[in-house]
């Protein structure tokens, strides 16, 4: 092969420019994430001087209000929001790559609907009273069970069908089924119990306990690591299943693993915080645009950082805008996410 002299430098220059841009974006994301997480620790409906907060931070066992609020409320919530955002963003990214569809989010396959059904069973019927031993974690367990039951069904369907579109429709149908079941339960429920359920459906990182945060760290960490190991086949999937198969990707195994990882991440967040909208849909786009690439080896960590960052910011806004009144987190994320998705759709529409 002969290489003409003028074409040679293009590639190294492009590579160098790209590398420096990516490094810049990553540093910026990391710094911003730290800033927002610190802000989430710093700002709350009760304001404390910085020294007092720092003191509490370094003396977790102190028996005062500050230590209690910092260690039991602000810290778990800050971490939960960051982790939850990261998980949702990665979950959404996986499905967007798999379906090659930019408007797919982590809940498109009915994960949150599955959680909702189980939570509604616990909250809206007297079933929950039979398990009062699990009291503080009952909802979390129920939600987890629901999310993973739906995941199992989706994966079982994925084994049988070839086409992504069929799977997408199957997911939507799961959502409708679960929704129908939930609405029947709601119709039969006592007013008193609907209150808590409606709140749960709006999703929030409020009131998470350390145990739950540790579960998120442990399970989510393992899931994220597995996801990162999948970034090579994910990249091949950018060209579609046929090309990926021709390059040596085991499509069936890859698809199942991908669905499992995505659903597990989304299910984990839903279990802890209820359905949080739009993060999983919008953040992958933001990551792609800010880095200017679809290379998942870069996008996955970026989506993690950006998801954590955006969710931290949204949670801060939800907590502080009308403090101490809490606004629904999904409302804030939707305010941010919906215009972005709309913009992307319009932009794509104009191109084609």
């Amino acid at each position: 092969m002969s290489v003409s002299a003028q074409t040679l430098p293009a590639l190294p220059i492009a590579l160098a420019r790209r590398t420096s841009r990516r490094a810049g974006v990553f540093v910026a994301l990391a710094v911003l994430l730290v800033v927002f997480m610190l802000l989430n620790l710093r700002i709350g409906s009760i304001s404390y001087p910085v020294e007092q907060l720092l003191g509490a931070l370094f003396h977790p066992s102190a028996q005062d209000d500050v230590a209690y609020i910092v260690w039991n409320i602000r810290l778990p919530r800050t971490f939960a929001a960051a982790l939850g955002g990261a998980f949702l963003a990665v979950s959404g990214l996986l499905l967007q790559v798999y379906f090659r569809n930019p408007i797919v989010g982590p809940f498109i396959l009915g994960i949150s609907s599955g959680s909702t059904v189980m939570v509604s069973l616990v909250m809206l019927t007297s079933i929950g009273l039979g398990f009062s031993g699990f009291a503080p974690y009952l909802n979390t367990l129920a939600s987890c069970l629901g999310a993973y039951a739906v995941t199992a069904i989706i994966v079982a369907i994925a084994v049988r069908v070839q086409s992504g579109v069929t799977l997408l429709i199957a997911g939507l149908m799961m959502g409708f089924l679960c929704g129908a079941f939930t609405s029947i339960l709601t119709a039969l429920a006592e007013k008193e119990s609907i209150k808590g359920f409606v709140l749960w459906q709006m999703g929030s990182f409020s009131g998470l306990k350390w145990v739950e945060v540790w579960v998120m760290v442990a399970c989510g960490g393992a899931l994220l690591a597995s996801t990162y190991l999948m970034s090579k086949p994910l990249n091949a999937l950018l060209l579609g299943e046929e090309y990926a198969a021709s390059m040596g990707v085991n499509i069936r195994r890859c698809r199942l693993l991908l669905l499992f990882l995505s659903s597990s991440l989304a299910g984990l967040v839903t279990a802890m915080a209820g359905p949080v909208a739009f993060i999983g849909l919008a953040v992958p786009h933001m990551a792609r645009l800010s880095l200017g690439t679809s290379d998942n080896r870069v996008l996955l960590p970026a989506a993690c950082l950006l998801g954590a960052l955006v969710t931290s910011l949204c949670d801060l806004i939800a907590r502080m805008w009308l403090s101490p009144v809490e606004l629904p987190l999904s409302a804030i994320t939707a305010f941010l996410g919906a215009p972005l998705v709309l913009y992307l759709l319009l932009k794509n529409g104009m191109k084609s």
Binding site: S4, E242, Y243, D295
Partner: protein, 400 residues
């Protein structure tokens, strides 16, 4: 072509549930450019998908480098066979070099990190399709032609021994069509790559491929050198052609005139008249022409277009009877065109035409009317075309 065949099939039946093609026995050697021809829906894509293991064969065996396709590990297969599909991947925000580097998939490690050699192959692949300058651009922003070259580069980066392509030149302009085909052929020659490409463009296939497979009616109907396989009859049968003919000498398709608009006699010879024939054919005129040498291009094109060609007899035979027949045809036509050949036969026909009183149009290099001639003279085909449109009989023909 030596050594083990790249790909061999025996008694292969392909299809989705129901067989589409059956009894396929193929044997591809190194460095061959094989064109897969056949009408839409004949099963070209099905065959390609089966050979690339996207589709399970319904019967028979496929061997790649002597190994059963079914038992070949995915990565090993990907290092031998690369594909270019019609579904043109257009991933958003992926640069050309990243796209091409995806072709290194079966060669890289767990995380797909590119080694120095991988980068080198990517560069070479881009250079091979002369798209080196596209490296930093985004795939979604390329033109169709540029993208197709990049798609080829990706397949090349896989360093395959066999490349399966499904209509690689669809939607491309002439320049890119030729470029893509040239790149493939160059790879066959220089790298020993075997190419199996489903093509629609029979002209191009005939001229570029080493071998053609004709696919029709549930099987491979012919397999061999294009020069041997692609006869006018075979091509007409392959595509069910009624209004056009493939001319193996010209290597192209010529449309036949239905002759409804009238008849014309062209005094032709010396290969001047080929474009004129096409012009007249498109006007729907039945053409007669003579008297021509069998080796004359005019005779070749005339025959392809369905004209009645009066050929000068070979060797010892007398020209007289042919000339008389031509003269009779000439004077019976609605009008006559003189494309300006020299020779006794041409002069005879001219004289006969002038005597017949039929309109005589003359195409000359310079529009100089010969003294005393009743004929009209035109310097270009365009002028001649206009003049034909104004002939009284032609107008009355065309009017209703």
């Amino acid at each position: 072509m030596s050594g083990e065949p790249i790909l061999r099939t025996a008694g292969l039946t392909v299809g989705y549930r129901a067989p589409v093609l059956s009894g396929i026995d193929l044997d591809f050697g190194r460095g061959q450019f094989i064109a897969l021809l056949g009408p839409n829906g004949a099963g070209k894509t099905t065959l390609l998908r089966t050979l690339s293991r996207h589709l399970q064969p319904l019967a028979g065996t496929i061997e790649v480098l002597g190994q059963d396709l079914n038992t070949l590990p995915a990565f090993d297969l990907a290092r031998v066979v690369a594909v270019c599909l019609t579904d043109n991947a257009r991933p958003p925000l992926l640069s050309v070099d990243e796209f091409v580097a995806l072709g290194r998939y079966p060669h890289t490690g767990r995380m797909g990190r590119l080694s120095a050699r991988d980068t080198e192959v990517v560069e070479q692949s881009l250079a091979a399709v002369s798209a080196g300058e596209l490296a930093g651009r985004l795939v979604e922003q390329l033109s169709d032609g540029e993208r197709q070259k990049v798609v080829l580069a990706r397949a090349l980066a896989q360093e395959p021994k066999l490349m399966l392509l499904d209509e690689p030149t669809a939607h491309l302009d002439l320049k890119h069509r030729i470029e893509v085909m040239s790149i493939l052929r160059a790879q066959c020659r220089s790298q020993g790559l075997t190419v199996l490409a489903a093509l629609h463009d029979i002209d191009l296939a005939a001229k570029i491929s080493d071998r053609v497979l004709l696919v029709r009616d549930g099987g491979v109907s012919a397999d061999g050198l294009p020069e041997a396989v692609l006869t006018g009859d075979k091509v007409a049968a392959l595509y069910d052609l009624h209004t056009a003919d493939f001319n193996r000498h010209l290597g192209s398709i010529e449309f036949r005139s239905d002759g409804r608009a009238g008849t014309v006699f062209v005094i032709a010879g010396r290969s001047y008249a080929a474009p004129l024939f096409r012009l007249l054919s498109k006007k729907g005129l039945a053409i007669a022409t003579g008297v021509l040498d069998g080796s004359d291009l005019d005779a070749c094109v005339g025959a392809a277009i369905g004209a009645r060609v009066f050929l000068r007899p070979t060797a010892m035979a007398e020209v007289g009877p042919v000339l008389n027949a031509a003269l009779a045809a000439c004077t019976a036509c609605d009008f006559i065109i003189d494309s300006g050949p020299v020779g006794i036969e041409a002069d005879t026909l001219r004289a006969g035409a002038a005597a017949s009183g039929r309109p005589l149009l003359r195409l000359t290099a310079a529009a100089i009317a010969p003294a005393g001639g009743a004929e009209r003279c035109y310097a270009t085909l365009a002028e001649l075309s206009g003049a034909i449109d104004h002939l009284p009989f032609f107008q009355s023909q065309a009017a209703p």
